[in-house]
Amino acid sequence: MPSTMPVAENSTLGKLKVYLGYAAGVGKTFQMLADGQAAAQRGLDIVLAYFEPHARPDTIAQVQGLEILPHRKIEYRGRTFEEMDTEAILGRKPQIALVDELAHMNVPGSARTKRWEDVQELLHAGIEVWTTMNVQHIESLNDQVWQVTGIQVRETVPDWVIRQAAEIVAVDVTPEALLNRLKRGAIYKPEMVQKALQGFFKGSNLGALRELTLRQAAHEVDLQQSAYDETGSVQGPRTSETSPGGKADDPWKERILIHITADPSTAILIRRGRRVADYLHADCMALFVHRTTEVSPLLASEREAVEKHLRFARGLRIETRVTGGSDVAKTVVEFARNNQVTQIFVAQSQTRLGERLRGRNFAENIVRMAADLQVTVVADRSRRLRS
């Protein structure tokens, strides 16, 4: 299962450390800089590779004495944007680079679209990277965050990127303290405060995001233990036999199959399948079936959507397959049986009128046909939003 393993096999790969928070202003950057200062004092070769210029005064005070690398200036539509200068960092080649805001999307015209891709470059050059992010930017949590807060987050980081992290640090503060900081104007400019209070900072959102952060951090810490048990010292008290990691002889070893279609709900399905597979230490694959009996070929827009979904699945390190069949549901179920799949993931599709007249929709057909397998019908979480 090379697709789900972290790339950390390579000994020259730099280590990644993620400071995880639940909102702007919890103190991720402050904590990272404080740890950076301590590391610099111990004589480690550490640079500040990217730092948000809108930082708060007490955060800026933490920068004093650290080597700051210049940002790259990029012109876009008549304005100048500052981005991390990855090439300059690679040239400088420090032991440790501090990079603020892992989930940031680069301005068009940059060498790479996303900052986490820049960070990959640094890691591959053997540089250790310390970075910050909020829980709502984790790809597989996207729908849960949407369900919990009613806000859809666009800038996301694939889970496998975070899974590479040798260390994750939960930066915790109470929502009450955070709201005080916000109202004192310590997080956003005054004109932004009202907007924030109606968005992520609203009512129960902070508590819910905080809980997600703590649970995510606990999960990552748990995975680090498994990774240590599998690769770390053999003289440790726990050998791999007792580790929860998916061994070949594990009778519970699961294999998840995600059914891909052109329907937009497929994105939710892929994220959910990936997340469940990660937690259950299961293998995960995705399948698209094109109907061979169709008179007209796939519409261009449908083909595009399917390709987008297949790319998205591969981006989350899910093995993808494409096959044809006259009966799509039957083909999916047969594929599952032939590939030792234990669980099929299908979307809870909107029932079309024709299907309603025939009695069942697609998901229901799969449930009916795959009586020997587990079938998970994944809900469309966006449909149950809190007011």
Binding site: Q235, G236, L373, A379
Partner: protein, 367 residues
């Protein structure tokens, strides 16, 4: 075991509510700084907050400090007012009466898990804290996971260390605020004077600490979830779905209940979630079916599930309602191998459940 003998969670919840309401009445707030081991920096974070609050005009005193505070802590303590401890024949203790006479807004109590010398008014320091709060004094305090009663056995199994001072978990659950002071294990050990190791887990000692760290994170998440729930109750808003996984296994005498419960247990453990098992009582159940259900419910109990019996004319409606009330994220249900006349009349129950489970995943198991 009979169903009627199964413990119910409600009295505990009522107690928690009563505790919370009592302190709220006096306007005092309890804030706890939780760490997974010594050396994470709980006391520093707490005293630094005390300093900031004092600078912003709050009336803050320090009622108790740990023995031999570090240079860093002493620097913070110099900026704060201290109430000297009481010297008794059997040792030092926090001077509760002196603090109550001084009547500050906020009192720092470090650490929380201490047993008072014999002859003191309260046996434990956490009881002193309750007394301060009853008198309207807000408290900032710190505690180490190892001192939480319910975790002592686990911690002991991991570290081999034994402690006598302990506080009940309910005390943490009733706190107004809890903050986890989370640092990587290598930094924690480094602060205790050990050699700094590379980022990540690199030896068995760090492996041990990492397990404690995971427990502390999950304990904090649990407290945050409880706070969220009471916030939702107090504000009359719809429950928050999806902050953590809550599995609902629906069993009938016909389904493959053992496998489903086993899977539910495994999912609960892997996701650090919660497990619920329900069955819908039907008048036509035979004695044999009732006996089968009893044995299923026993294994559900052993799996740590919350068990619920639903009496409803329409099982699917009952299940859906229960799932929504309990913020369920995944429903496990058994396949129906044979259709009968009722299905023909009302529709296949599994398919009806899938349609009715708005926002909840449905996992269908083979018979």
């Amino acid at each position: 075991m009979r169903l009627s003998e199964l413990p119910r969670p409600s009295p505990e919840r009522l107690l928690k509510q009563a505790q919370a309401e009592e302190s709220k009445r006096w306007g005092a707030r309890l804030k706890i700084f939780l760490g997974y081991a010594p050396g994470v920096g709980k006391s520093y974070r707490m005293l630094d907050e005390a300093r900031r609050r004092r600078e912003r005009g709050e009336d803050v005193v320090v009622g108790a400090v740990q023995q031999e505070p570090s240079e860093e802590l002493q620097a913070l303590l110099r900026k704060l007012e201290r109430i000297e401890p009481l010297e008794t024949s059997s040792g030092q203790t926090m001077d509760l009466d002196a603090i109550l006479r001084r009547a500050p807004q906020v009192c720092v109590v470090d650490p929380l898990a201490t047993e008072n010398p014999p002859g003191s008014r309260n046996r434990y320091r956490w009881q002193d804290v309750q007394e301060l709060m009853r008198n309207g004094v807000s408290v900032l305090t710190s505690v180490n996971l190892l001192h939480v009663v319910e975790y002592r056995e686990k911690v002991q199994a991991i570290t081999g260390k034994h402690t006598t001072e302990a506080i009940p978990k309910s005390f943490l659950l009733a706190a107004d605020d809890i903050v986890i002071v989370d640092v990587p294990t290598d930094l924690c050990l480094w602060r205790l004077g050990e050699k700094l190791t590379p980022t990540g887990i690199s030896n068995s000692r760090e492996r041990e600490l990492s397990e404690l760290r995971e427990l502390a994170l999950l304990l904090t998440a649990e407290v945050v979830d409880a706070q969220l729930e009471s916030y939702v109750h107090a504000h009359g808003i719809e429950p928050v779905f999806g902050t953590h996984e809550r599995f609902l296994v629906c069993i009938t005498p016909q389904c493959n209940a053992k496998t489903m419960i086993e899977s539910g247990k495994r999912n609960k453990e892997r996701f650090q979630g919660e497990l619920f098992v329900v069955y819908v009582r039907r008048p036509q159940d035979t004695d044999k079916e009732k006996a089968a259900l009893e044995s299923y419910l026993e294994s559900a109990y052993e799996a740590g599930a919350t068990i619920e019996v639903i009496e409803s004319n329409d099982p699917i409606e009952g299940i859906t309602e229960f799932a929504h009330q309990n913020r369920i994220t995944q429903i496990f249900i058994g396949h129906r191998s044979q259709e009968n006349w009722r299905d023909w009349l009302f529709g296949d129950p599994v398919l009806r459940l899938i349609r009715g489970a708005e926002g909840i995943d449905v996992r269908v198991f083979p018979d």
